[in-house]
């Protein structure tokens, strides 16, 4: 069952990537301007991408619904509440209204991203999804706005990080997951290389094209994730948490950025270069550093308390 489930999940993710790639390559092969497709007026295609995200989540749940990972007891309810509150508060603190932490070469610091990944990895996909979805909404509400598509994307990050619970052996498939994340990051970086003038929509200064660091931040992030995966290969939890977390970031942020084509009327290039890269790249780097730190601290406390 576990093996079948793994192939199914990989199949769903690859299917989504293939559809995305087809929509990139078909217009290009017909010598069409790729800014003219996948646009705000093209309702069916916009909904196709929102639908893909929902189908992946529902598909994963449906085919693994017998798995204990989906059980919600008292423990899960409490950690859903704690995780969402923590994520909401940290998002609010670091969105520029309380702590004015300078961004480095357009790479904004968003340490809260470690929370849905950590809670998903420690307490399961339901806790991870809830932490990301509700936590991001709380952070938005505290700041005075709401962006449902980004909250759902954050939920996906926690959900994917928690999917490790669906597999008996955490060590299996880590390299495949890393390759999948790398494909996602590579596609986005190629789009940036082809459109270097596209401006950053996620970090100040707003009206500037992406710096080289921001442009290759997804690749840097993946390199850090890969380094941790292999350097800490003996500490399975550290390796597995960053690998599953990185896949979560690629899929979650990718979902939110593509949904913005519909919501904000961005072109495909703006969504990928202006939103996905500056959001996913820094998040990958921050998650790769902060999640292992939090995980090691948690395990030390767990050892002390025996729970």
């Amino acid at each position: 069952m576990t093996k079948k489930l793994f192939y199914l999940i990989i199949g769903l993710i690859i299917g989504a990537l293939v559809i995305l790639l087809a929509y990139i390559l078909i217009p290009l092969s017909q010598n069409e301007d790729w800014n003219s497709w996948l646009s705000a007026s093209d309702v069916p295609i916009r909904f196709l991408f929102v639908g893909i995200g929902a189908v992946i989540v529902l598909g994963i749940y449906y085919f693994s619904r017998q798995n204990a990972a989906w059980t919600v007891g008292t423990r899960e309810v409490v950690y859903m509440g704690i995780g969402a509150a923590l994520y909401g508060v940290i998002s609010w603190l670091f969105n520029g209204t309380v702590f004015a932490v300078p961004s480095v070469s357009q790479v904004a610091l968003r340490p809260g991203i470690a929370i849905p990944i950590l809670f998903g990895y420690l307490f399961g996909p339901v806790v991870g999804f809830f932490t990301g979805l509700v936590g991001n909404t709380i952070g938005d509400l505290l700041s005075g706005w709401v962006s449902p598509q980004w909250s759902f994307g954050n939920g996906l990050i926690g959900l994917v990080a928690g999917m490790v619970f669906l597999f008996g052996d955490k060590k299996k498939s880590l390299n495949w997951l890393l390759i999948l994340s790398a494909i996602g990051a590579a596609i986005a970086t190629i789009v940036w290389v082809l459109n270097p003038g596209e401006t950053n929509q996620m970090a100040a200064p707003w009206d500037q094209p992406l710096t080289v660091i921001a442009g290759v931040s997804a690749i840097i992030g993946l390199a850090v994730v890969a380094a941790i995966r292999f350097l800490w290969a003996k500490d399975l939890d550290v390796a597995a948490s960053v690998v599953w977390g990185s896949l979560g970031i690629i899929l979650g942020i990718g979902f939110a950025a593509i949904a913005d084509i519909w919501v904000n009327g961005y072109s495909f290039v703006t969504a990928i270069v202006g939103e996905f890269l500056p959001a996913a790249g820094p998040n990958l780097i921050q998650a790769a550093i902060l999640v292992p730190l939090l995980l090691v601290a948690y395990k030390a406390v767990q050892k002390q308390t025996g729970r």
Binding site: V77, I82, V134, V146, I285
Partner: protein, 286 residues
């Protein structure tokens, strides 16, 4: 730095609405706003959003900072759209040039030239209005819904008991964790911790966050175990839970929901009938 929820208990018509009505109408209004690209329709929807804020008597000083930020972001997004011309290509095949702006400088021998067209101006304005309109609807939620009723609101909207309670729990924890962050931040600063220091590279900056993040997160997780014990001892989840507060729809709620429904229906039907699409004001085409 302690977080206090932005809610203020006032007796306005918006405050008196059932929180479920506010959540349902928010979803309907946002859907309606996202269905149109016509400046006239968007202006009407924005006017209604601002009218709601006035009805709720939300003081300008409370929302000034957020609105200035949103205005800045929306202006920049629209300016970028206008300068690049991207995003609007699917709405118009022909552009009516009003003037052509030539940059008074050269970059490596290249002089930027930006065609100022009627279509680009109209599309950038539509994008700006859409963002600001959605913000106007979102503003009402945190200022007019009592945080104590979020749990029962979502339960009555169909969320299972456990998830509704988790929402309730998370909202109760927000002020606590904000206070924990404030205490930890002050304690670390007393030890020479400088969060805002720009020195060091990206990795160094991220690592600098650990002394603030790790104690609060780990303390929260450890504290969670005590809450789990307390809830288990009270047989949480064994039977459907009861809620201390109750919600009731009144006539005004029915009217408000009906109006929201009509708005959504209109936002679906009008574009199908050819209304509400991209529109360029005639005076720009002259």
């Amino acid at each position: 730095m302690l977080v206090t929820w932005r809610y203020r208990q006032l007796g306005t018509i918006i405050h008196r609405l059932d929180p479920r009505t506010k959540v349902i109408s928010f979803a309907c209004f946002v859907l309606a706003a996202l269905s149109f690209w016509d400046l006239r329709f968007l202006s009407a929807l924005l006017a209604f959003g601002v009218f709601q804020i006035f009805l709720a008597r939300i003081p300008w000083r409370d929302i000034r900072r957020v609105w200035l930020l949103i205005f800045l972001m929306a202006s920049l997004f629209s300016l970028i759209t206008f300068l690049t011309g991207r995003g609007g290509f699917e709405f118009y095949a022909v552009e009516h040039e009003i003037t052509r702006w030539t940059a008074p400088f050269r970059l490596f021998g290249w002089q930027p030239v930006i065609p100022v067209t009627a279509e680009r101006i109209a599309y950038a304005a539509s994008q700006f209005l859409r963002i600001v309109t959605v913000t106007s609807y979102a503003t009402v939620i945190p200022y007019t819904i009592d945080p104590r009723v979020y749990g029962i609101t979502f339960h009555r909207l169909g969320l299972p008991d456990k998830f509704a309670y988790a929402v309730d729990l998370s909202l109760r924890f927000v002020p606590t964790f904000a206070r924990d962050f404030a205490i930890t931040y002050d304690a670390q600063r007393a030890r020479g911790y400088e969060l805002e220091r720009a020195r060091g590279g990206l990795i160094a900056q991220i690592r600098r966050l650990a002394p603030l993040l790790v104690p609060v997160v780990i303390q929260a997780i450890v504290g969670g175990e005590e809450i789990i014990d307390a809830m288990d001892l009270r047989s949480f989840g064994v039977r459907p839970r009861t809620w201390l507060m109750s919600l009731h729809y009144h006539r005004i709620d029915i009217v408000w929901i009906f109006f929201s429904g009509v708005l959504v229906l209109g936002s679906v039907l009008l574009p199908m009938l050819g209304y509400g699409g991209f529109w360029v004001p005639p005076f720009l085409l002259k």
